[in-house]
């Protein structure tokens, strides 16, 4: 199953994300966001080849509902990325229940300028709806650039 596909958006970036279950959906959403910023799936990319440094980054967020948790998870990762000037990969949801999420990711050095594709500034709430589709789950997220 593909993790995500980029879909046309007039002003910003949008991705339709897929997952077998909700935790995988969340992991793939984070993957999509960082892949759209700098190639993390391409074998040739420095981000793919880089060995993670130090400890895994832990993330803990709360929100009013599951969609809110998804956006909070993505925006927390974005904030940490900008604040610590690092990049993330290998996302794992450790727990997702009662409107609280704990997850983690590998930390990498910020990609070189040539590797960077877009500066995502926020994951937005626009039309966010997690839906069951074809034996799994699907959600579309619009990112502000």
């Amino acid at each position: 199953m593909e993790r995500y596909e980029e879909i046309p958006h007039t002003a910003d970036l949008a991705a339709r994300i897929f997952g077998k279950n909700t935790p995988e959906l969340f992991e793939n959403a984070a993957f999509a966001m960082f892949d759209m910023m700098a190639n993390i799936k391409d074998k040739a990319s420095s981000v793919k080849r880089q060995a993670p440094s130090g400890k895994r980054q832990m993330v803990n967020v709360k929100a009013a509902d599951t969609e809110g948790l998804l956006i909070a998870w993505l925006n927390e990762l974005l904030y940490l990325s900008y604040e610590k000037k690092v990049f993330f990969r290998d996302f794992k949801i450790i727990s997702l229940k009662d409107n609280e999420l704990t997850g983690e990711a590998s930390t990498l050095a910020f990609p070189e300028r040539e590797e960077r594709k877009a500066e995502i500034k926020a994951a937005t709430y626009h039309d966010v709806r997690i839906e069951k589709r074809g034996g799994g789950y699907e959600v579309t997220v619009v990112f502000d650039v």
């Binding site: 980029e6 879909i7 046309p8 958006h9 007039t10 002003a11 910003d12 970036l13 949008a14 929100a63 009013a64 969609e67 809110g68 956006i71 909070a72 925006n75 904030y79 900008y82 604040e83 910020f110 300028r113 040539e114 960077r116 594709k117 877009a118 500066e119 500034k121 926020a122 937005t124 709430y125 626009h126 039309d127 966010v128 579309t140 619009v142 502000d144 650039v145």
Partner: protein, 485 residues
């Protein structure tokens, strides 16, 4: 997302179209789109009119949910959206009506130089500007602000920058809000937002932000142009940028909070990104305080970039910027919410006017204008896309129907990925050079994403607002050199 709008659009006249409030249950007012028939065909393609209809649900909304001709799909309100709410009647404020890039805006600087002065040194000038003004993805400034200074920027805005030596006292007189909104509250800006802004002051950023050297190639109202210090053949500089990561974080923070408050105020809206609170609530005051702080950060940013640009010109022309006549014509915000007084049904009311991808356009005689401009109306600066012209307009009395609001720019037509696909194999830099435009940029795909075909034709947008009578063309500028992030 790319579904076309299939709802009803009623023609009011050649430049105004109505979405009747009967279109969707919950609409409190009609929607009105300022457009001509030709542009309307593009407007319906990305379903932005649905967002106008959604915005018509906002509690306390007055008159209509409006959109300018550069309308395209955004978050909550579409880009080009104008919505005013009656504060005393429980009217709301929504971060989705301001946008992520709070006080994204544009300023126009004039010079005493002519095209013949600049052309032989254009490459050197653009190169010097590119090296002097930080731009591009994640661009950082030369100074990391400590906490105390960071707070002073958020209350002082452009005035802070001038006090620090990044400009001239007369700059703030020719700036919307005189370069800083009263009522900014840095304590309502999260520490995250402070951190994101701390090393980004004085930077251009990326996306559609730019710094452009232009030549005035057409004058439509010579009497007004004279008062603004604008003449044909003159070199001008345009700066387009906003509040960088700080503004985006403020919007993210409050968009999330407001979703939680919807139940508290018993507000139902069709799109989470329109989450809102009454202006007259603690939560509303908090967002206003934070939004004003972020707006001031953007004004400080544009002021610092003005200073850096003057330095670049001084270096290339070996004369100081004052003797080069590099005075600020005006600076406008196009993502902001303001508290303004209007006559509604015969009574003076305080309204919360959201302008998202829309520019304020005060008429002649308005008390908030600098004395020198009171006779002509507020200058409105409309940046075109990269490679096509920009415009200088003034506000009109007729614009009262839009709460003195007008368009902000060209508005995108194509998604970034569509623009990249369309331009595969093309050297955009060479195409621009063939037109005599030198461009320097950061970012692998910046030029392809920002190619002119990705945008509406700004001339058509401006002709529509002129046709509708809500602004008047004064001058047109064409680009000579562009610095892009």
């Amino acid at each position: 997302m790319t579904t076309a709008f299939t709802g009803k659009l009623e023609k009011i006249d050649d430049y105004r179209w109505r979405i009747p409030k009967s279109y969707m249950p919950g609409m409190r007012v009609d929607g009105i789109i300022y457009s001509d028939e030709k542009m309307l065909r593009d407007i319906v393609k990305d379903n932005a009119p649905q967002q106008i209809a959604n915005a018509a649900h906002l509690p306390g909304i007055v008159k209509a949910s409006m959109a300018m001709p550069d309308i395209h799909w955004g978050y909550g309100l579409p880009i080009g959206g104008v919505v005013a709410t009656d504060i005393e009647a429980g009217g709301v404020i929504t971060p989705g009506g301001v946008g992520y890039d709070i006080n994204c805006g544009v300023r126009l600087i004039r010079t005493d130089l002519s095209e013949s002065d600049v052309k032989p040194r254009l490459k050197d000038l653009v190169d010097t500007m590119f090296r002097t003004v930080p731009c591009g993805v994640g661009s950082t400034g030369d100074v990391k602000l400590n906490a105390a200074e960071g707070k002073r920027i958020l209350t002082g805005g452009a005035r802070w920058a001038v006090e620090k030596g990044f400009g001239w006292p007369e700059d703030v007189e020719h700036c919307e809000e005189r370069g800083a909104m009263e009522g900014a509250d840095p304590s309502k800006v999260s520490s995250r937002a402070h951190e994101r802004g701390s090393d980004q002051s004085g930077t251009l950023g990326s996306g559609n932000h730019f710094l452009e050297v232009q030549v005035v190639d057409e004058i439509y109202r010579e009497d007004i142009a004279n008062i603004l210090g604008i003449r044909k053949g003159q070199i001008t500089v345009m700066v387009h940028t906003g509040s960088r990561g700080l503004g985006h974080q403020v919007c993210s923070d409050y968009a999330e909070k407001m979703i939680k408050f919807l139940a508290k105020f018993n507000i139902k809206i069709p799109d989470k990104q329109l989450a809102c609170v009454p202006v007259k609530s603690e939560e509303g005051r908090d967002y206003l305080g934070a939004m004003r702080a972020a707006a001031n950060f953007a004004w400080a940013n544009r002021q610092r970039i003005t200073h850096l640009t003057r330095k670049a010109f001084e270096k290339v022309f070996a004369r100081d910027a004052r003797s080069l006549g590099m005075f600020l014509v005006y600076d406008v915000a196009h993502n902001i919410a303001k508290i303004e007084k209007y006559d509604v049904g015969g009574r003076q009311k305080l309204l919360c006017v959201h302008r998202k991808g829309a520019t304020r356009a005060f008429p002649p005689g308005h008390a908030e204008l600098p004395a020198a401009y009171r006779g002509i109306g507020q200058p409105v600066i409309i940046p075109g896309d990269m490679g096509r012209c920009s415009y200088l307009l003034v506000g009109t009395e007729k614009a009262e129907e839009t709460f003195y609001s007008t368009c902000h720019g060209a508005g995108r037509l194509l998604s970034r990925s569509a623009a990249i696909n369309l331009t595969r194999g093309r050297s955009i830099a060479k195409e621009l050079e063939a037109k005599g435009i030198i461009v320097m940029w950061e970012g692998r795909e910046t030029l392809q994403e920002e190619v002119p075909e990705a945008y509406k034709n700004v001339t058509e947008v401006v002709d529509i607002v002129q046709g509708a009578g809500i602004s008047e063309k004064v001058a047109r500028m064409r680009p000579m050199g562009v610095v892009k992030g």
